[in-house]
Amino acid sequence: MDAKEYRDQVAREMAAAKATPAPAVPRGSDAGIDAALKVLADGGAADDARIAALTSLKAAAFASTNLAARRPEYLAALRAAVDSSRGALQHRVVATLAREKDASTQQRLVDGLTDPSRALLPPEEAIPLIGEDVKAGVYPLLRAIVAKPPNDAARVAALRVLAADATSKDVFEKVLRDKGESAEARKVAAAALQSLEPDAFHEHARAMVLDPSETEDMHAASLSALTHFAGDAALAGDDELQKGVDALHARTASPVVKRSARAFLDRVRR
């Protein structure tokens, strides 16, 4: 989902929430929580009403201390809603449970990756939710998905989750070096490597900056990483890199790359 789609979705949800009649009981009170739990778990209620109930419960988690004591009922209502909902409501319910590290939900998401007939969500939506619990032991499964993905979006999603797995450095180096990979996958690999192995990433970034056949996206990303994260010791005295960035700045038609090159040169010549 890109930023525009997300904005549109939030706008739709806000409009739906405004259209929902105000509850008769104050939100966050025990009575308000009771009412919201009942609507959320009720498979016969309208989706908009159930989404509004879920939103109200999530708000209560911040605004009131009452929900903390009612968490078992809240989770039970969410679990009941998983199988009695579809579409946006189901996605939100499953996402909420995954963020609560609910073991049964995590297991169902994993099961759905191996058997699409049991999938609650498409793989590219399920994978980020599986990644909510980094201690779920799913990294081997995600590496298998990167190697043999159901679709490109799922592969990128798997790479994003693997960015927290220190043993996946090799995967990211391979993706980053491969110019045949999608720009999105390479950017995710670059960010992951920067986080897991900064020194190794700076070597790759340097090589990409000096490679005239690299894409503008990767030139900009590499320059930005070197400008903001590389240590002074790594950059000082690297005349070849400075000359390369000078040349890139002079020849590029991309304003983003030009701006990134300028920022880099300002830093090293400061």
Partner: protein, 482 residues
């Protein structure tokens, strides 16, 4: 789509779960075998290798639940109290609460642990089912961690009322390492440190400087905690580092900042880069310099796990569960004291480091211990009858045994000495939290005075001598140190 074969290759085997379920069923059928479950509570147990944290909680919880039915042995008590003190998984905490109700001696000292658990699970509770392994609780059926904890508090309250008129001994906290008050884990002396193997292990600090373990820690006592930055339990790693910062302040206030090193070593060296270590420590107020470091073993944590006996399990390179553990090392980089499983007290840790810095105090303590032991042995060998006097004199070559006067006035002296020794054993035992030496000495005194001298039971004085000597030795053991 991911091929089923690929998934099967990477999915955790169910064999370990089945083994645990089978053993728990066996123990439920044969409660005398409950001791077989205790090793399954150790984090290093092979059954947790490669398991997710959630599954690890569930397996441990299932083991704990068995103790509710077959009785909770003392050697499993520390695991239960640990779960109550610092656990934050509803299933495991609920199971621990229920397991505690299997303990034969409900103690008021358990109450703070249960109250702490109520705080810990607030906002983390869940609907639970303890009927079958893996069950999910449903409204109206099953239980919650909070409900289990309240039931345990009610059980403790009922037991306290029932025992109010009974001896205090039956409500006292069981003795030993398991049962310190909340937040005050006892220091365990490490009899045979095994760190030679890691002397050359390369460690990297928060500034990226690398040096062998021996070089980092030799020359001065050190306080070393284990942790990792991705720990999501606020009662464990984050608290450990915040408390280590307080230890640093206490050391500085005592003028020991430059004489005792502090360090924290990560369980997760592949992820915890020097930059992450530095930021994590600074955010929790730790002072970082050449003597106070955050460390990782770039080659892996396994040699440290072996050497320190760390209780930590992994899923891939990530920790699935660990206990709280802190060690005090001597100037030869050997761990001398361990504070493990339960939350440790900063002052107690500083006291151990201070003790390592003060050799004269150690000598005095050793002398006190030796004197105490010798006094007990002297009591044991005090001549207690005419025959004893004859035997002693015979042994030492005295002539004319029949002319040796038996001095009856020595009997009150003997009785007095024995009673003084008994009182000393009681005092020493109370101070150390273990009355084993006192009980032995009491048995010995009873055998000598009542059975031997009073009733004339043959062999009783000899048994009394042996018990007195044993009591003296046990009582003086581990009395070195603060």
């Amino acid at each position: 789509m991911v091929a089923q074969a690929v998934f099967e290759a990477v999915a955790p085997a169910t064999e370990g779960v089945e083994r645990v379920k089978a053993l728990v069923a066996e123990v439920r059928a044969h409660p005398a075998r409950r001791g077989e479950l205790v090793p399954l509570l150790r984090e290093e147990s092979a059954i947790y290798r490669g398991r997710s944290t959630g599954e690890t909680h569930r397996m441990r919880g299932w083991v704990l639940l068995a103790f509710a039915d077959v009785g909770l042995p003392d050697d499993a008590l520390s695991f239960v109290l640990e779960e109550l003190e610092s656990g934050h998984d509803a299933y495991a905490v609920g199971a621990a609460a229920r397991a505690l109700r299997g303990h034969p001696a409900p103690s008021p000292a358990f109450v703070p642990f249960v109250e702490r658990a109520l705080e810990n699970v607030r906002g983390r509770d869940d609907m639970l089912s303890f009927e079958e392994y893996g069950d999910v609780g449903l409204p109206g059926r099953g239980t919650t961690a909070t409900r289990e904890l309240r039931a345990t508090l009610a059980w403790l309250e009922a037991a306290a009322v029932a025992q109010a008129t009974v001896t205090t001994a039956s409500t006292a906290m069981p003795t030993g390492d398991c049962c310190a008050p909340l937040g005050r884990a006892p220091a365990r002396a490490i009899p045979a440190p095994r760190v030679e193997a890691v002397g050359s292990l390369v460690l990297e600090d928060h500034a990226g400087r690398a040096a062998p373990f021996g070089e980092v820690f030799r020359g001065r006592p050190s306080i070393v905690a284990f942790f990792y930055t991705r720990c999501d339990n606020p009662r464990k790693c984050s608290l450990t580092i915040a408390k280590l910062a307080r230890v640093q302040r206490l050391l500085a206030e005592a003028g020991l900042g430059g004489r005792v090193r502090t360090a924290a070593i990560t369980y997760d060296p592949a992820y915890d880069s020097p930059a992450r270590l530095r930021v994590y420590a600074e955010a929790r107020g730790m002072r970082l310099d050449d003597d106070h470091r955050m460390l990782r073993a770039p080659g892996g944590v396994e040699p440290l796990r072996e050497a320190f006996g760390l209780q930590v399990g992994f899923v891939g390179s990530l920790v699935n569960r660990h206990r709280t553990e802190l060690f005090v090392l001597d100037a030869r980089a050997r761990p001398v004291f361990a504070f493990a499983r339960l939350e440790w007290d900063e002052e107690a840790v500083v006291a151990r480091a201070r003790w390592l810095l003060a050799p004269p105090g150690r000598v005095a303590a050793a002398l006190r211990a030796a004197t105490s032991a010798l006094a007990g042995v002297a009591i044991a060998f005090f001549p207690k009858c005419p025959m004893c006097w004859a035997a002693y004199l015979g042994v030492f070559g005295a002539a004319a045994v029949e002319r040796v006067p038996y001095a009856p006035w020595l009997l009150p002296v003997l009785a007095g000495t024995l009673l003084v020794g008994l009182a000393a054993a009681w005092r020493r035992g109370r101070r150390r939290g273990s009355l084993a030496g006192f009980y032995l000495t009491a048995g010995g005194t009873f055998a000598i005075l009542a059975l031997g001298l009073g009733l004339g039971v043959p062999g009783a004085p000899i048994a009394g001598i042996v018990l007195n000597a044993a009591g003296a030795l046990v009582g003086s053991r581990r009395s070195i140190g603060p």
